[in-house]
Amino acid sequence: MNVQTMKKRGQFAEVWGRLRKNKLAMISLSVLLLICMAAIFADLIANYNNIVIKQNGAERLMAPCAQHWFGTDEFGRDIFARIIHGARMALLMGFGATIISVAAGLILACVASYFGGVVDMVIMRVMDVLNSVPALVISLAICSGLGAGTWQLIVALSVAGIPIHTRMIRSNALGVMGNEYIEAAKSQGASTASVIFSHMVPNIASIIIIQITSTVATNILMGATLSFIGLGVKPPRPEWGLMLSSGTDYMLKNPHMVIFPGIAIILTALSVNTFGDCLRDAFDPKLKGKA
């Protein structure tokens, strides 16, 4: 008995439909995909050992030319190759740290909003204390504790992000918990897990996705900042913040060492931010309505 039913258009299919119509979203998405491609195929474009790290004094501080599109740095390494490899680091920091802190935030928020009472109070007080320490200060403390390095940097960025995400997801989760369909599920004898995962999480999924896109950009900037002040990635690994920090000394005469990594950071952060905004409009279009 084939029942003529409307095609099962999931909510995400609908959102994708709206996104496709939005020019800005497509541009920012294509830029983002380009950067991801660069990150994934970095080894094919420039071999890590002999181009990205090998120092060759002869071609020191060359301005952008045919052979080196973005010129070379103080050790004669090709900046274009280093930026491509740097993309890998930026995306790792951006998405890696965000996923960890949003996941931790989600778990803490779900536990806090579902059980409420003492559990909620304890978690929230811990978050208040963490929140009373500026994010960068948290990262400074963690970097000084764990020392410099890639995974230490990701840990620092994640921990700095947890309080904000927990607080944001919790307020949305409490909003969802107030609805009667949660009470209806409980009235059917549904287990705690099924109420959280089959009812609460899908309803806060759109908020989490919007939060992820906005935090990725922040983490990319924060990661570059920490590397810039020497607490993030250790040389000789190629990282945009690190390249900028070494570029400060030669800035006056060879500005190219400072311009290109900066543009790379801005391009990535801008495309992620723009895509995040378009995503938010696509998720609940009525927010965009006229006054």
Partner: protein, 326 residues
């Protein structure tokens, strides 16, 4: 037949959002005399609130297009300048809204908000006149004047609606539009608010347009009734004509009366109207009610019925051709 206060001539309102055009109000004609009480009845989406906002010219500027005229004391409100409208709103026409909980500004005191409307329309008068008027109107609506320094969150739903009425009647307007004023209130509080509105109406002689979906309220409070269905007035007349079951009525009105459980009689099953309100973006051809009408004829599907008026009792239906009433 008193002197004409408000005339709505062939009013149509269309909202366009994201390319979709919704016909909220289609060719509405209404009249209201001084001191008269008109009830506008209809279900969700019938265009009641849109008509009311049209009278105050408060429709959203970008998305709403209006045709036809709304004459208030001879002035066409739809084409009036914003400056002229600001003189009329609050002083000649005022409005109270459905949800008292959100209609008051949470960060200003109650006395402040009532005083604002008095100050706007009596710029030349001093501060004492405003304060004295605020105390006076607060007592009229049954709220102790010393509570005017408190904020809206200190008041219950019923009290907030009284404050809204105080704001609306502070400048003694000629017309008060009440958009479902008591829907959000309990029935005993509704009785208090309605009886207060009735005494104030008699005392100040204000004309009232009461928008509601509760036929009982209309029978109790109004002189004239207009029943709206998907943007059109399908039946209107004095309540003696509408609530008299011996008169012929539009099938929708018959269905409405059939859908309300009676207190006085024991009925086993209600006789509801089948189907749902049509979508304003894709209204059916011919008579808008034909998909749900039990007496639907072929002509109803194609041709829009004429509004037949027999001594002030208007019915818009092909079937209700009536002999000339005495």
């Amino acid at each position: 037949m008193g002197e004409k206060l408000l005339e709505i001539k062939d009013l149509s309102v269309r909202y366009t959002t994201d390319g979709v055009i919704a016909h909220a109000v289609n060719h509405v004609n209404l009249e209201l005399d001084k001191g008269e009480i008109l009830g506008i009845v209809g279900e969700t989406g019938a265009g009641k609130t849109t008509t009311a906002l049209g009278i105050l010219n408060l429709l959203p500027r970008y998305t709403a297009q209006t045709d036809g005229e709304i004459l208030f004391n001879g002035v066409n409100v739809l084409r009036a300048s914003e400056k002229e409208m600001q003189k009329i709103r609050g002083e000649h026409i005022s409005m109270i809204f459905q949800d008292p909980m959100t209609s008051l500004n949470p960060v200003y005191t109650v006395g402040d908000q009532i005083g604002r409307v008095v100050k706007i329309h009596n710029k030349e008068k001093g501060k004492e006149f405003v304060e004295q008027r605020v105390d006076e109107i607060l007592n009229l609506v049954g709220i102790p004047a010393e509570r005017k320094v408190e904020y809206p969150f200190n008041f219950s739903g019923g009290m907030k609606q009284r404050i809204m009425i105080a704001i609306a009647l502070a400048c003694n307007p000629e017309l008060l539009i009440a958009d479902e004023p008591t829907t959000a209130l309990d029935v005993t509080i509704q009785a208090q608010v309605i009886s207060m509105m009735r005494s104030l109406q008699r005392e100040l002689g204000t004309a009232v347009i009461l928008i509601t979906h509760d036929l009982g309220l209309v029978a109790n409070f109004c002189d004239k009734v207009a029943v709206m269905y998907s943007g059109e007035i399908i039946e209107s007349g004095a309540i003696e004509q509408i609530f008299d079951s011996t008169n012929p009525h539009h099938p929708y009105v018959v269905g409405l009366f059939g859908s309300i459980p009676k207190i006085t009689r024991k009925t086993k099953r209600l006789t509801p109207i089948e189907g749902l309100m049509p979508n304003p973006a894709s209204l059916p051809e011919g008579c808008k009610f034909h998909p749900r009408c039990p007496y639907c004829m072929d002509i109803c599907k194609t041709e829009e019925p004429e509004a037949v008026i027999v001594n002030d009792h208007l019915i818009k239906c092909h079937r209700c051709v009536r002999k000339e009433e005495a």
